[in-house]
């Protein structure tokens, strides 16, 4: 399938705060970000707290001017662009950007009045299940309700590109599904969606393209399939990193037993060694390794409580990057 046209490109974007002359000196937040997002695709930015996701978005939205590098949003420099470009772009900020003493209806009507052809408010409110609190002061809304108001505000102009910084933070599971279903539909209609999230399962489900940031730079990028099939940094390089096995031990394993395992094993998810502990192989190369493990269980006289095969996930990749 041919790739759609880029709606956003960042080339070698650096951003620093402070001054070389000040006591704190110059602090670099972004140290050369390269990123491309396409129309009709969901581009997800992942990274630990402080990795530079929000600063990257702020540069892309034209709220911050990069210290170095170039940003092209729909073919224009967003920092210098005028109302014509801003009408084509929707923005949902991480902190919402909502006035507290105003009712959602008044705010959203005002935002709609800035656009020539806005999305009908009643329709959008129904879509995001907001009708019951449109006339309540924003100060009195729950975190999840505020998120929906901010999301609605970003979509009112029917933009070609939308930036969503943590759109599902604070949402209950049902609202989260509503928002992700909406994002999926908007993608089908050709909107370019650039979002950050901490929900890796949803990111895996939605993302056409993923950029993982760490310390102000993109350390991995690609489709979910590309990222999860990239060779893991584990001890068994020959193993297929996209498949791994997890078994739940029925008892504590001794050091000698662990050392005698035919494959490297490690405790999964930080649990401690004992009955019910989940042990993981970083990767498997084929059925013969399963047979070797079964032989080893027989030798040490331990029948696992549970054995399951798992595909490598975006979460695994994220953790690898975070701890490396």
């Amino acid at each position: 399938m041919p790739q759609s046209s880029p709606c956003l490109t960042l080339r070698h974007v650096r951003y620093a705060v402070g001054s070389a002359r000040s006591a704190q000196g110059l602090r670099e937040i972004l140290s050369g970000v390269d990123l491309t997002a396409r129309a009709g695709e969901v581009t997800v930015l992942l990274g630990p707290n402080g990795a530079g996701k929000t600063t990257t978005l702020s540069c892309a939205q034209g709220l911050l001017h990069p210290t170095q590098g170039t940003v092209q949003l729909l073919g224009q420099d967003p920092f210098r662009a005028g109302a014509d470009l801003r009408a084509r772009v929707g923005v949902m900020l991480q902190d919402g950007g909502l006035p507290q003493s105003v009712q959602p209806r008044a705010l959203l009507r005002h935002v709609a009045s800035l656009h020539q052809n806005p999305w009908p408010l009643e329709d959008l409110a129904q879509r995001l299940d907001m009708e019951s609190f449109l006339s309540t002061s924003i100060r009195r809304l729950s975190g999840g309700q505020k998120q929906r108001v901010a999301l609605a505000a970003s979509l009112l102009g029917r933009p070609e590109v939308v930036f969503l910084d943590e759109p599902t933070a604070g949402l209950d599971p049902q609202s989260r599904q509503t928002v992700f279903a909406l994002i999926g539909e908007l993608r089908e209609m050709g909107m370019g969606i650039i979002l950050t999230t901490h929900l890796l399962e949803e990111a895996q489900r939605l993302a056409d393209s993923v950029f993982i940031l760490k310390d102000g730079a993109v350390v991995r990028h690609g489709t979910v399939a590309e990222l999860t099939s990239t060779a893991a940094q584990g001890p068994d390089a020959a193993a297929d990193p996209t498949r791994r096995m997890v078994f739940t031990a029925s008892r504590t394993l001794t050091r000698a037993e662990i050392a005698s395992s035919p494959l490297a094993i490690e405790l999964d998810g930080g649990v401690s060694n004992g009955p019910g502990a989940a042990w993981m192989t970083p990767g498997l190369s084929g059925p013969e390794q399963l047979r070797a493990l079964a032989t080893w269980w027989e030798q040490i006289d331990m029948m696992p409580v549970e054995v399951r095969m798992e595909a490598r996930t975006l979460e695994d990749v994220f953790w690898e990057v975070s701890v490396s």
């Binding site: 709220l63 009408a87 923005v91 006035p99 209609m189």
Partner: protein, 253 residues
């Protein structure tokens, strides 16, 4: 949803419509805000009645109300342009509202122009209400002076809005709240706005304060019917300095 959502070519409303829309939106928010109404209208009205009844400002040649009314108008303009806009903008900055609106077709320039319209609209309401109350109490301004008074009010509102925005864009919202209120009370009580300046010796230097320039300018316009050139220049200077400083140091987030 697909029936109503279509990725049409999105476009902004014309600039004038956007700015007027934002001006109306902000004006409505101010007039619906009880605390802002208290500071902008109720307190100045109480000062007007109190200073008049207690004859706090006495002059052998001029009736008390003719001195009090322009001074209270100055106090009211400072309340809406400086304290009101400063606090509102400070919290909008804290909550990311300024940053969000800057990403909409309104943009940073439209946002500031819309705020200017809102300040002028609220000041117009203040002049109408306080002026009417003053007239009911016997205020007798020079007819031509009312034209000059309007001009000085606009200059004063510009200078104090710029000062309020400068504060809101450089310090935390809570600090803006405290500072604008304290400064408003100090300038109102001893800054030459409500109470006329002593023009001898060091007192004359106080005219350099924007509050004194506004108060004295309004008194000159309404009592003498002439345009207060010096006071207008001082206010224009404050406006220019505050705008340049805001341009340099204002943080949108």
């Amino acid at each position: 949803m697909s029936a109503t959502y279509a990725p049409l070519s999105p476009a902004p409303r014309p600039a004038v419509r956007r700015i007027l829309s934002h001006g109306l939106y902000e004006t409505r928010n101010v007039l619906r805000n009880g605390e802002q109404l208290l500071v902008s209208l109720i307190l100045p009205l109480l000062v007007l009645f109190g200073a008049h009844r207690l004859e706090l400002i006495t002059s052998s040649a001029t009736p008390s109300i003719d001195m009090v009314t322009p001074g209270v108008l100055a106090l009211a303009v400072m309340a809406s342009a400086f304290t009101g806009q400063g606090i509102a903008t400070g919290f909008e900055r804290q909550y990311g509202v300024l940053a969000y609106l800057a990403t909409t077709p309104l943009g940073p320039t439209g946002l500031i122009l819309g705020k200017a319209i809102a300040v002028l609209a609220v000041v117009a309401v203040q002049v109408l209400v306080i002026g009417s109350a003053g007239l009911a109490l016997g205020w007798d301004p020079e007819p031509l002076g009312l034209v000059w008074l309007g001009g000085v009010v606009v200059l004063g509102a510009t200078a104090f809005t710029a000062l309020g925005l400068l504060l809101a864009g450089t310090v935390r919202a809570e600090a803006t709240l405290a500072l604008t209120n304290v400064i408003w009370v100090l300038l109102g009580a001893a800054g030459g706005s409500v109470f006329p300046l002593n023009h001898d010796d060091a007192g004359a230097l106080l005219l350099l304060l924007p509050s004194a320039a506004l108060g004295e300018g309004l008194r000159t316009a309404s009592l003498q019917g002439t345009f207060p050139v010096l006071e207008a220049l001082i206010l224009a200077g404050w406006a220019a300095v505050a705008m340049l400083a805001a341009r340099r140091w204002f943080n949108w987030r």
